[in-house]
């Protein structure tokens, strides 16, 4: 039986082969959402980069 590779035990949130891993964060692109700011959970299904609107972030409440 072949020895298990060393170094990485497992990918936690990525189960496919490492060479199938793609970059998901467009670090040079900050223009994909103007509806969702500091989101704390509401669902905004239209927005490609976020799962919510910014409604829950308030200051003094």
């Amino acid at each position: 039986m072949a020895e298990k590779p060393k170094g990485v035990v497992k990918g936690l949130n990525f189960l496919a082969k490492p060479d199938e891993m793609t970059e998901v964060i467009p670090l040079g692109d900050n223009k994909n959402c103007d509806c969702c700011t500091t989101n704390l959970g509401y669902t905004c299904s239209t927005c490609p980069s976020s799962s919510g609107s910014s409604a829950a972030k308030s200051s003094g409440k």
Partner: protein
Amino acid sequence: MAWKTQKVALASMTIPDADQARYHQPYYLQKVHLFAKRGKKFAYLTRQMVALLLDDLGYAILSQSGPVTLASTWEKLAHRFSFPEMNSAFQTLIDWQILASHPPVSQPSVEEETFIDEEAQNPPSEIWLSLANDCNLRCRYCSAGYGRFGGTRGLMTEKTAARAMDLLFPEDPAKQKRDFANIIFVGGEPLMNYPVMAFAVDYAKRKAGKANRRISFHLNTNGTLLDEKFLQLFRENDFHVVFSIDGPPAIHDASRRFIDGEGSYRRVAANFSRFIQAVGKSRRAQAVLHYGSSLRETMTHLLDLGFEEVIPNPDYSSPLTSHNSAFDASALEEFAQQYDDWSVENVERILSRRWLHGNAHFLEDLRALHRRQPSRSSCGAGRSLAISAHGGIFPCQSTVETKPFQLGDLTRGVDLELRRKFIALIENLGNKCRGCWIVGACSRPCFQEAYSGGFLDDPEPTQRCKLYRSYFESAIYGYYLIDEAGCTELLD
């Protein structure tokens, strides 16, 4: 000594031809964050949003500074690991794109004037309406000057609300670029102004219907003025409501009091119970944590009260009130530890009840990890707009009535050049985050905090940055626990 024995073994060992080429080949650590928690070792690949569980060897290899070679690593770690193990680990780390033969590529800054110009021209798709520049509570940490924002008391009129809605739904259909719109009712205390809230809902629905756009209503409230007419409005219009409640009675009432000094817990808890009966969904709370208070106690109490998600926020210092329970840097570190401890307990709760509930920040990060999608997008201040009760237009709720950032008023409209400058300022602020390991999974700095904290000219991260990084490490560990239990489908 074992180390010397290993060295001798190496000296006499023949490196296979296949490995010779890369024995002295330098490898560079890519954009990755390493950390250890409760005896487990992790790597988080920023650009791929992938979290990995490492073994001791992988962690030891990656913990070296500068470019690494198999030869130099062998020199350092031969006393702990065999050469075949190390060789295997190097290959695995290369496969996972953590080590590469080139240095990490730095991303260019966002300086796209064209898109900023366009953003400044676009009508907002999200508007915050301060229905009341006033509040019926006198919370000791209030950062909004009891709803007045340092200005005068007042309630928004129907005319002002209608003009604000007109910003969201311009007459020219070509300008309505989004097929949705968000309206967020805030204050002060927005429930002080039922007539205008009901008017705005009706007005916005008619406008949205005419433009064939979806619309969603949100509300942040202290919950004390909730009555049947509000419950009906929320039920019929699918409101997303966030209650401000700080925890058990003694904790809540210590800060959140009526003008006469009486605590408000009994009222808000009773009204939340009515809300559960009448509306049911979207049971969210946000709680301000004070220095010395227990996050666990607050979370447990609010979840047991019936909230599905609780947003815990440490009490940052407030410029408009004076009190002594705000968190300083060391207290925030202690808070981060409490947050981390609660995360483990939160996972136990999730697993035992097979229901995703608990700390909203934590859940959001878990979902982001699971989907490998950014959860908190960049600050939308300026793209979204906040309207004060008096009709002033501001970039966000946190800047309402802050004159240097006023972008216009509803009589004269938005000053597009000021808006463009503000959006550019936000972009520039976001550029400071490019080296951060959680960029993409973070909202980036709150503009108001950056402004008041002097971060605009300071390259160092804010306290909130440090906290969010700590939050995300807790989420990665939480994800590990959920994965170990074989229950990641709960995050689907």
